[in-house]
């Protein structure tokens, strides 16, 4: 766990701009009660289910719930609700010992039975949500005693994959598990006090919280802003103390003014997704040309104000499979791209016979798509942008109704095979590439990683092999990492705990008035 400290800030310049705007802000965003942390969000939450990891819920999950274990930003596993865990020598099970004295918000004690109830939900395809794919390695579980539970795997599983699972399991109070979407039922540092849908959420400190001295701040008020600029102005005028999930561009601008910007270890990676079942993308050399034809530096600058890293593989720097040499090997190179296009044997008309679907509601997506369109124009490929929004866009993206599309991919900081939980990278029932998977070498590379145990050279060889296959198959062209959960703070806010999944963790955060 890393706790960051920031300094007091000067508001002189910001006040001049922000005061008139502050006058129009919601009351909750203006009142600065001692001991209250005021946070601006750009979207309201979807629900209180800690197994639904959609970004909109990331502001609350780790404040209302605890997971069995946590990761430091460097990826080291640490105890949380699990005081200890022991992976069997044959890597087929893990025995978890729960911390004593932990209570849910209802007052019920944390027990192995409670964890078993949570596991039952997680293993249910209709209830498990984002946790369900991670549970695929679990055969069953056994309650050993009230404080001990053993998870039995379907086969030998690499250690990191087991700890990834434990780090994902937020334990839910069995008494509230049926209504967890509507009412939180966790052990977290904060309890829900009030919610006005679309306006604000108020949390108060959990007096029975098991971590000594935490939470530091006794009350947290989230205010939902519909406009990034309004949230920014509110921070500048002192109306809020923190912006969570604002745009990279605003964060970069505030950073240049001296506001601290915290970038966690769990970014997403932007991926140019290619539907290899359509048009010229059936041709491998045509696809491979895009490894060189995408101006990743330009995309990072235009779409994300430079906040992120250029990558040619779908891994964050904290991933064990991360290999920065690929970003250099596949740096933007029009000539190399042109060579591959020529070698593809496709005519100019065939090469232009496709569209790039664009998320019209996302300014970064619109901008980076135009960067790609402009680059392709330079090599004689003229394509149209197909602007889509809302349900039409989601439908296109998840059902493969596109030739190409940009889309963020998560879980890139975890065990490498977790990338296969994203639609384009799925090894089975891939909604875009179809069944059977058109790239068996990719499926085999993922399987090799899942079955290579230990930490010796054979593990690295498996990662290297997967990286090579990803570039050769080229059904996804990663461009850059970015963080939808950027934290921009006032200088009188300190003590953030950075989370491996870039969720907002507030139990150590303090604000000085």
């Amino acid at each position: 766990m890393t706790v960051l400290t920031t300094d007091r800030r000067s508001l002189l310049g910001a006040l001049a701009v922000g005061l008139p705007l502050g006058a129009a802000l919601p009351a909750a965003a203006q009142t600065a009660a001692p001991g209250t942390l005021r946070i601006a969000l750009l979207t309201d939450i979807a629900n209180y289910d800690p197994h639904q990891f959609s970004f909109v819920n990331a502001s609350l999950i780790k404040n209302l719930y605890d997971t069995l274990i946590e990761y430091t930003p460097e990826g080291r596993a640490e105890p949380s609700l699990a005081e200890a865990w022991t992976i069997a020598p044959d890597s087929r099970s893990v025995t978890v010992t729960l911390r004593r004295g932990v209570k849910f918000h209802s007052g019920n004690p944390l027990t192995a039975e409670a964890v078993a109830t949570t596991l039952k939900k997680a293993a249910d395809p209709s209830l498990g949500k984002n946790l369900y794919p991670t549970m695929s390695i679990v055969q069953d579980w056994t309650v050993v005693d009230p404080q001990t539970i053993r998870l039995n795997m379907k086969g030998p599983v690499p250690d990191r994959q087991i700890t990834d699972l434990l780090q994902f399991i937020a334990v839910i109070d069995p008494a509230g598990i049926a209504t967890v979407e509507q009412t939180p039922a966790g052990t977290g540092a904060y309890k829900l006090a009030e919610r006005a849908v679309g306006q604000r959420i108020r949390l108060v400190a959990n007096p029975d919280y098991w971590r000594q001295g935490e939470p530091v701040t006794k009350e947290v008020v989230f205010t939902i802003f519909s406009q990034d600029a309004a949230a920014t102005a509110s921070l500048e005028s002192g109306g809020v103390d923190v912006i969570y999930g604002g745009s990279s561009r605003s964060a970069a601008r505030l950073k240049s003014q001296g506001y601290p910007v915290l970038d966690g270890p769990g970014p997403l990676v932007q991926v140019f997704r290619i539907n290899t079942t359509r048009g010229p993308f059936r041709n491998a050399q045509f696809r491979q040309a895009f490894n060189y034809l995408i101006d990743r530096e330009g995309i990072l600058r235009v779409g994300y104000a430079g906040l992120g890293q250029v990558v040619a593989l779908p891994w964050a720097p904290s991933s064990p499979a991360y290999d920065p040499s690929y970003a250099q090997t596949y740096a933007f190179n029009i000539e190399k791209g042109r060579e591959l296009l020529q070698r593809s044997g496709l005519s100019q008309a065939e090469m232009s016979d496709w569209k790039l679907v664009v998320n019209a509601g996302s300014q970064p997506d619109v901008a980076i798509s135009q960067v790609v369109q402009n680059t392709l124009r330079r090599v004689g490929i003229n394509i149209e942008l197909d602007m889509k929004e809302g349900a039409e866009l989601v439908d296109s993206m998840l059902k493969g109704r596109f030739d190409t599309i940009f889309g963020g991919v998560g879980n890139i900081q975890k065990f490498p095979s977790r990338v296969a939980t994203n639609s384009i990278y799925r090894t089975a029932n891939n909604p875009i590439l179809g069944e059977p998977h058109p790239f068996p070498e990719y499926v085999a590379a993922i399987e090799r990683i899942n079955t290579t145990l230990g930490s010796g050279p054979e593990v690295k060889a498996a990662y290297d092999h997967l990286n090579k296959v990803l570039v050769e198959t080229s059904f996804g062209i990663p461009t850059n990492t970015y963080n939808p959960g950027l934290i921009v703070t006032a200088k009188n806010v300190s003590g953030f705990t950075l989370d491996m999944d870039n969720m907002l963790v507030l139990r150590t955060t303090a604000v000085r008035r």
């Binding site: 600029a229 235009v302 135009q370 402009n374």
Partner: protein
């Protein structure tokens, strides 16, 4: 003067004798010339320079650059093409449908009038922007779709104006005389009534041009206009407002061009109306009719 054939040259002289209308015409003429000759001016609205993004005004870029390092001046000039072509097409479409509807409804009356005017009422009942949004949802985003959407919202205006003109001329002696000499309804409509109805229709065409430009910009501003990278003033306003802190001129300058253009159309429309209705000041030297 309404209801009489007047010399186009005479009308033009009297319209542009008004200083505001002359300035407005000069602006529109300059805009049209720039839009037509844009390729010869060396302006490229699509060329990106990802190192020089969101720059302010400079010698290289008099209007600055946008978020992709493109020349905002070039995009504003090419945006004029989009706006003027959409406006001209939309007004032509609206007049082509609305005027015949109004003529037929007013001339024949009865069930034809009832049916056509209920259609017009239906179109009028829907706010123009809603109608355009619905049409674009069906037709998809393109310049043709924007043109049709904007054009259809103007149909009721032309239908109403044309019908009102027919009703005021229908019982006039010169129309009755044509019919007495055996003129068919088609002849009366096209050769007698329509030529005498042009004044308010022409005024409406000019006024509706400004409405069409504004509506096209509004659609683009709402994100349903012509898809990028085609330059459009509304799209520039939409994107520019996201960068108000970094590059205030990005939204302000295209917005100014849009505002001045709409004002110019509106000014000419009002001047034309005053001349055709005889409300303008007489010219210093009387102009003889041919």
């Amino acid at each position: 003067m309404s209801g009489m054939l007047v010399s186009a040259r005479h009308v033009a002289q009297r319209v542009f004798a008004q200083p505001a209308a002359a300035v407005a015409l000069a602006w529109l003429a300059a805009l049209a010339v720039a839009a037509i000759l844009a390729p010869l001016l060396g302006l490229d609205p699509l060329a990106q320079d990802l190192v020089r993004m969101l720059e302010g005004l400079s010698r290289d870029y008099p209007f600055g650059t946008d978020e992709l390092g493109r020349d905002i001046l070039a995009r504003a000039v090419y945006g004029a093409r989009t706006s003027l072509v959409t406006a001209a097409g939309a007004v032509t479409l609206a007049a082509s449908i609305g005027v015949p509807m109004g003529l037929v409804a007013g001339f024949f009356g009865g069930w034809r009038d009832a049916v056509l005017m209920r259609i017009v009422d239906l179109l009028l009942a829907l706010p123009g922007i809603m109608l355009a949004l619905a049409l674009i949802a069906v037709l998809g985003r393109s310049q043709a779709a924007a043109l049709v959407a904007v054009g259809l919202t103007g149909v009721p205006t032309f239908a109403r104006v044309a019908r009102a003109q027919v009703l005021s001329l229908r019982r006039r002696d010169f129309v009755t005389a044509v019919e007495a000499f055996g003129g068919t309804p088609a002849y009366s409509l096209t050769r007698t009534i329509l030529p005498n109805s042009w004044s308010p229709i022409l005024t409406q065409m000019v006024v509706l041009s400004s409405v069409a430009i504004l509506l096209e910009a509004a659609l683009a501003f709402l994100g349903v206009g012509i898809p990028p990278p085609t330059p459009s003033w509304g799209e520039m306003l939409r994107t520019g407002k996201e960068y108000l802190y970094e590059a205030p001129t990005y939204a302000v300058l295209p917005g100014l061009v849009l505002t001045v253009t709409i004002l110019a159309f509106d000014t000419i429309g009002r001047a034309l109306s005053s001349v055709l209705e005889g409300r303008d000041a007489p010219l210093a030297r009387p102009v003889e009719s041919p």
